[in-house]
């Protein structure tokens, strides 16, 4: 610095001088992605120890579920949190998936942006190729411990155990050690699977946004999976399956022209092996028939025979514009695998202690050329807390989203739905309140997250609109149910009121007249039964769906557990509304009493002493 000041003394008061381009060029070099994310770990969901613990578990479990489903295996996943100290944990996740071939282990667990899911359009939990290596990297950075991977790809082969240490500057991993396990290590009874163990700095605390909540919600959205969870207190919690059907495999699709941005289009043109533009359009995109291709080319002022090599930036832009103008069929949507109302209900049923459940799967739609579909589940009443805001649980491709609720399209959709129409109170601009859990699921070949940590779904109009339609559908069913429940409750209350007093009346009457109390009681009971027959018919068969005059008929998207309704009813006995001519607890004396008080009541002479 001193030297530069001396040489450059012409300028008036140059106390400092900037670096030259040459000097700067010495410092300019490639930043490895891993270095970048090591510094910006919050982008990947490792902002604080508690969240980091949850994120690590989530990345590994999501991968395990993806791998199992792709290999058509019913997932059984083992999750263990071993607490080493207050802030240090060893996280182990083991699956019964297909395993990972030896030579890919370094890449998968040691490199960021390495994966099988990024370059394809297929519905899966992972999509970026960052998840598990980021977790391993975070562990290494906070504890210095390498990641331990054990993988077995078939019954015949031994499992291999690899200790990996990531080198962030190179976005590569070094193998610390490598051993073969004996046949009978007992880790993979199915003969295949993967186990990852990561030591990391974390904090364990139950409640919202915890590992436990992530697993609870994952179990709801994945009723076909079995989870065995050993928590830091060494307690084992089993999340059993709600269904034994594996969801159908999602198919891969080509990108839709309308979903492509100019930059991506240029990149695709540079990389394609096609020689002519017509072939390029037809082969690398979905829904581009020869006639659509012709239409696009004409609009862009070229022909289908134009050589790909001749397409420069100007032509690419013209093609891009033409695509926007052309009429192109929406992408096929059979690539999407919804959870389905049945599985949604079974997931909610086993994890949420409510009395009323309904679910709805919307037909697929398209945003930016990407097919997607929205599903909504709703649980009401039972043991759900009454005086709190409703709970919204969000999922993208079956993965629970625990953070950034307010930034998520689904949250906005819930806010914008008029819950009052369905019998749930809501103050302006806030979540409704009541004993409700709403679950919103977006399934798509590409979920538009607001950041790499995959926490909130970006707010596209098409997506929000679909979410609202789905919410309205479940809302309407809830409304029907609530109105019906109120009616049943009135009937039921009527009956219980009568039954409550009949005993007293029978005894007192018997004591006045000498008639048998038992006889009076039984007769009155018969009258009570007769008077409330309707309520009887509905309430008697507990645990089963309401049959008589059931507004939902054979609607498979609704499940009612009257057993849980009864619990809710007992609590709110007092706030029942009176439907009689003598509503209040006053006696027949009526108005006179309120005006002047009872003759015999202690005389209170209401007075205010004020001088005139």
């Amino acid at each position: 610095m001193d030297a530069s000041q001396q040489t450059d003394s012409k300028k008036s008061s140059p106390r400092r001088r900037g670096a030259t381009a040459e000097e700067m060029s010495e410092k300019q070099r490639e930043i490895s992605v891993s270095e970048f994310f090591a510094k910006n770990r919050h982008l990947l969901g490792f902002d604080n120890p508690r969240k980091a613990l949850m994120t690590a578990v989530k990345e590994a479990v999501d991968n395990a579920l993806d791998a199992c489903e792709e290999a058509c295996i019913m997932p059984h996943i083992y999750i263990e949190l071993l607490q080493r100290s207050e802030t240090r944990f060893k996280v182990t996740i083991r699956d019964n998936g297909p395993g990972i071939v030896r030579k890919q282990i370094e890449n998968i667990f040691g490199r960021l942006l390495y994966g099988s899911k990024f370059h394809r359009l297929k519905m899966s939990r992972g999509q970026q190729g960052i998840g598990i290596s980021a977790a391993g990297m975070y562990g290494l950075m906070t504890t210095g411990q390498p990641v331990l991977i054990i993988s077995k790809t078939s019954k015949k082969k031994p499992s291999v155990e690899v200790l990996l240490k990531m080198d962030t500057s190179k976005n590569r991993a070094d193998v610390v050690s490598e051993t073969e396990h004996p046949e009978d290590d007992g880790l993979f009874p199915d003969g295949h699977g993967t186990q990852v163990s990561i030591e990391l700095e974390g904090r364990y605390q139950q409640g919202r946004q915890s590992v436990d909540e992530y697993l609870d919600q994952t179990a709801i959205a994945n009723p076909h999976a079995h989870f065995t969870y050993v928590n830091p207190s060494n307690e084992t919690i089993e999340f059993k399956r709600g269904t034994n059907e594996l969801p159908p495999e999602a198919t891969e699709i080509l990108p839709h022209p309308k979903g492509i941005e100019l930059g991506t289009l240029i990149q695709m043109i540079e990389r394609t092996e096609r020689t002519q533009i017509g072939g390029f359009l037809q082969e690398e995109f979905s829904r581009v028939s020869p006639s659509v291709s012709k239409d696009i080319c004409e609009r862009a002022g070229i022909t289908g025979r134009t050589w790909v090599k001749q397409i420069g930036h100007k032509e690419a832009e013209a093609i891009y514009k033409a695509i926007q103008e052309a009429r192109i069929m929406s992408p096929s949507t059979d690539c999407l695998v919804p959870i389905g109302t049945k599985a949604l209900l079974s997931g909610l049923l086993k994890e949420v202690k409510a009395e009323f459940f309904t679910a709805c799967t919307r037909p697929a739609d398209v945003y930016r050329g990407n097919p997607f579909l929205i599903e909504v589940g709703l649980a009401f009443g039972g043991e759900l807390p009454k005086d709190e805001l409703i709970r919204v649980i969000r999922f993208a491709n079956r993965v629970p989203l625990l953070y950034q609720q307010a930034a998520c399209a689904s949250f906005k959709a819930v806010l914008e739905t008029s819950w009052k129409n369905y019998g749930i109170s809501q103050s302006r601009g806030s979540l409704p309140d009541g004993p409700v859990v709403v679950m919103v699921h977006m399934a798509s070949v590409w979920v538009p997250f607001t950041s790499e940590s995959k926490e909130a779904i970006a707010d596209y109009d098409e997506i929000r609109k679909e979410m609202k339609l789905a919410l309205q559908e479940v809302g309407r069913k809830l409304g029907i149910y609530l109105r019906r429940r109120q009616r049943m409750r009135n009937e039921g209350e009527r009956r219980s009121i009568f039954e409550r007093y009949i005993g007293e009346i029978a005894q007192a009457t018997a004591s006045i007249t000498g008639t048998s109390a038992k006889k009076i009681y039984e007769s009155l009971l018969r009258v009570a039964k007769r008077k409330t027959e309707e309520a009887d018919a509905v309430l008697n068969d507990e645990g089963k769906r309401v049959r008589d005059s059931d507004p939902f008929g054979k609607d498979d998207s609704v499940v009612i557990l009257p057993g849980r309704v009864a619990i809710a009813q007992a609590d709110s006995d007092d706030d029942s509304s009176d439907d009689s001519d003598e509503g209040s607890k006053k006696s027949a004396s009526g108005t006179a009493k309120t005006l002047f008080g009872d003759d015999d009541a202690p005389s209170k002479k209401p007075r205010t002493r004020k001088k005139a």
Binding site: G503, S511, R526, S580, A592, K611
Partner: protein, 391 residues
């Protein structure tokens, strides 16, 4: 008080004090009649129960709309309107149960030949309903209301059900009464006075020697004490009573009997406000709430001595005694003016209008600002002498 009687049927004539001590709470005939009515109610319930129909009790309605003023007899009378109370009606079931329960309580009480306070009856029938957390009554008020319903439903009186309210009201004066067999000389009651019992039926209270020429009834005991200390009843040869505000049934019944049986005129000294006017109205015509009892309590000839709106000027009272009328007072005053037994009375219309014009009310105690004994030595004697009262 509730001693068992050896000869429950012997009731003594009102005029002569009994030689033998009689401590019966009611006479046998009345008791049996009341028991019969309760049995009837019970039978109607058990009959409809066994017939598997909806049991009910008809309760005469005790509302203003079912109360009418009998101009000839000059008292309030209950109309024929009844409310049917059914068991199988969610809003009425609980009340129905309470009615049966209290009927049974009264029956037990009558059979035991004992009396009980309203509070006592409430406790006697209070318990948690089997298999629930619900109590048979939430509070005494609930039970009191039902007991009134029973009274009217079986057309009897609370006294006949052996029930009494909390004692309120005091008496001194030139009279001897026999209360449950004990002879009480009301001329020798010291500063406290004779506490008027809740049940003043002839079976319990009889009149002995009486020299008094009239009854002066004052609103509350502070004023009463003033009169007693000044020996007003001695000087003016009268009976002095007080009802702690709205006089309870015992006091009203006693006033009625003093008026009816001994022919003593009753003069009232009450506050100049809607409440005082209403007290007078109840003494004179009966209450809306208990119109069924007017016949044995209302004193159509009772007079209103004061104090009156004009007294502020007439007695030259200071501004300090004024208490502004509030909205409720004004509303009440207008209501009272509309009462059929006031509406045709010019004096009363003038009195109420003047009070409303004044915009303030006054208590009897305001006369103390003139002189401690102004009310006993000047105000009342002058009014009585001049027959200056409103009717």
């Amino acid at each position: 008080m509730a001693k068992k009687s050896k000869s429950p049927d012997s009731s003594t004539p009102a005029s002569s004090p009994p030689a033998k001590v009689n401590r019966s709470v009611s006479n046998q005939a009345t008791r049996e009649k009341t028991l019969g009515k309760i049995l009837e109610l019970g039978k109607s319930v058990s009959k409809s129960a066994l017939a598997e129909t909806d049991p009910f009790v008809d309760v005469p309605s005790r509302t203003m709309s079912n109360t009418s003023y009998n101009e000839v007899r000059r008292l309030l009378q209950m109309g024929d309107a009844t409310l049917r109370r059914n068991l199988f009606n969610t809003g009425q079931a609980r009340k129905f149960m309470q009615m049966v329960l209290l009927s049974k309580g009264c029956k037990d009480l009558l059979e035991a030949q004992k009396t009980l306070s309203l509070r006592g009856m409430y406790y006697m029938s209070l318990h948690t309903i089997a298999g629930t957390k619900e109590k048979t009554f939430d509070d005494q008020e609930e039970s009191d209301g039902i007991l009134e319903d029973i009274e009217v439903a079986i057309a009897t009186l609370r006294e006949n059900l052996h029930l009494f309210a909390k004692k309120r009201g005091t008496m001194v004066g030139n009279i001897t009464v026999v209360d449950n067999g004990d002879s009480i000389d009301c001329r020798r009651m010291g500063t406290g006075g004779y506490a008027i019992p809740s049940i003043c039926e002839p079976s319990v209270v009889q009149f002995g020697k009486c020299d008094a020429k009239f009854v002066l009834h004052v609103e509350k005991d502070t004023v009463w004490s003033r009169f007693n200390e000044d020996r007003f009843w001695e000087k003016h040869n009268c009976i002095l009573t007080e009802g702690s505000g709205q006089p309870p049934r015992g006091v009203r019944r006693l006033l009625y009997r003093l008026n009816k049986e001994l022919g003593l005129p009753v003069y009232c000294l009450l506050d100049c406000d809607p409440w005082g006017h209403y007290i007078y109205s109840v003494i004179k015509q009966g209450s809306i709430n208990l119109a069924f009892e007017s016949e044995r309590m209302a004193i159509p000839d009772a007079k209103y001595l004061g104090i009156r709106s004009g007294d502020f000027v007439r007695c030259e009272l200071s501004d300090d005694v004024k208490i502004s009328l509030n909205d409720r007072d004004i509303e009440r005053a207008k209501q009272i003016a509309e009462y059929p037994w006031f509406i045709k009375k010019k004096h009363w219309q003038k009195e109420i209008q003047l009070m409303l014009r004044n915009g303030f009310k006054m208590e009897v105690e305001s006369l103390i600002t003139k002189d401690i004994s102004y009310v006993t030595e000047t105000y009342v004697p002058e009014r009585l002498k001049a027959k200056d009262w409103i009717d």
